[in-house]
Amino acid sequence: MRRIVTVSERVVETPSTVTLRFTDPTPARPGQFVMVWVPGVDELPMSLAYAGDPKGITVKVMGEASGRIQSISPGTLLGVRGPYGNAFDLSPRRLLAVGGGSGTAVLAPAIEALVERGGDAVAALGATTASELLFADRLRDAGAVVHLATDDGSAGAPGFVTGVVEGLLRHQTFDAVWTCGPEVMMRKVVLAGRTAGIPTFCSVERWMKCGLGLCDACALGPYHVCIDGPVFPGETLLAAPGFSEFYRDASGRRRPYARPSAPGPAAHGP
């Protein structure tokens, strides 16, 4: 059932991302998402960047609706339903988390929860430029070791974050790799995990309407991201028709992911 919540806080995280906080007692686990309704505008799937109290979503401007969400000020009413979907498995003792752009939003609360349970986390974050790196301080505060990469070299390693990941996987051991970002990036992470013999888990995005496993909007091969995901084992995705190749638009038409980064559900990455 939908709840109406009041935005209690608005935090500008980077030039293109903003966090909105709101109190909503419905329990949620890190990795899950909610459907956020901005009355008169749209209702969009948003990962919980904060899954506790107050909850929070971190929004990147992608188009009209996300633009309108971003500009929301405290006191505004939002409709929220969910949380939907599955969560990250918090059992790994030693984790590598790979965030591309605002993909880090969904990883952050899961990394915090894992460290709290006594796990060790290394995070590799990528962005186009230094100012767009998301939640680096938040993750350091949580106790994670943070590595950075920027396309323009303005912070951390120059180039894609996948380069950093390949290095980490060569020199350290991990029980699992989590990743969220553009699918082309995630594909590379999954393949690197496969080479290193480490299981990978990706949080993927698809166009969503119902969020309930009803409408087929979020179909990804034989899966529905809203109920079977958003977190999938990397190997499952490699076998799923469409992963990192196409998504479906609002009409259900296949739309190719342009490379290396593109507009589309998972485009808010490095």
Partner: protein, 314 residues
Amino acid sequence: MADLRVDLAGVALRNPFLLASGIWGESGESLKGVWAAGAGGVITKSIGREPRAGYPNPTVESYDRWGFLNAMGLPNPGIEEYPQEIAIARGAGALVVGSVFGHDADEFADLAERLAATGVAALELNLSCPHAEGLGAEVGSDPGAVEEICRAVVRRVRLPVIAKLTPNTHDIAALAVAAERAGAAAVSAINTVRGLSIDATLRRPTLSHGLGGLSGPAIKPVGLACVWQIYEKVRIPIVGVGGIGRAEDALEYVLAGARAVEVGTAVAFEGVGVFGRLARDLSSRLDALGVSRLSDLVGAAHRESGAGATAAAP
């Protein structure tokens, strides 16, 4: 083991449970998954001439276990691109029924012809979407329009044509009679029941489109009444739809007059495993009743009921 096979207007179904149009029907992989889960056949999303994004979100409101209200706005990839999805499902051996919607008889006929070419086993005409202007129920509640559209399609395709009817009318049997007269091979009933939900705090409808259509357990009595009324007026087979999630529901529809049934909302409530469960449970239920063939029960409630019970109402 009771025999669940049914002959629906010449189409042989391994069991009576078809995926209802608009649920899991946009992508070939999903249709394939429903077939693999044990459905007797899968009906595609209703396809139109052009790709259609549908209405903005929110498009679905859910009620606690007894229903959904939706106004998707007939999103679909369009007749140009959709055949590749059907090909995937057919490649997996699925029996596919193609659903189409249009603005007039010509458009219905064109679309039906193009879908027929993809190897579907039958065509369902969506004459009944309760929330799309100039489409669906706006046309579909007028027997004359139903007859005209069905006739145009029947002339153009050799496949069995199923007219899907709206419950948002005072006399659904008259619509069925019109479809039969036009040569439709079957009718399906019902599409969703017109409804609205309002958020009192925000003082506005919750669906972006305002009005929507109710589906799920809440509309089972409505669907049963429609099938019952239609059965008394036509001889072509009826496909029952609305709130079917358990074998018992399907059995009730069959007794009311349905030869096959469609399952929509239950796929979301119960998961796709519902198809295997329905077939297994229906088979055991028939065994317990001592019935060997499901098709022997079609319309049986009309025959067994006493005087008062069969009285038709408006």
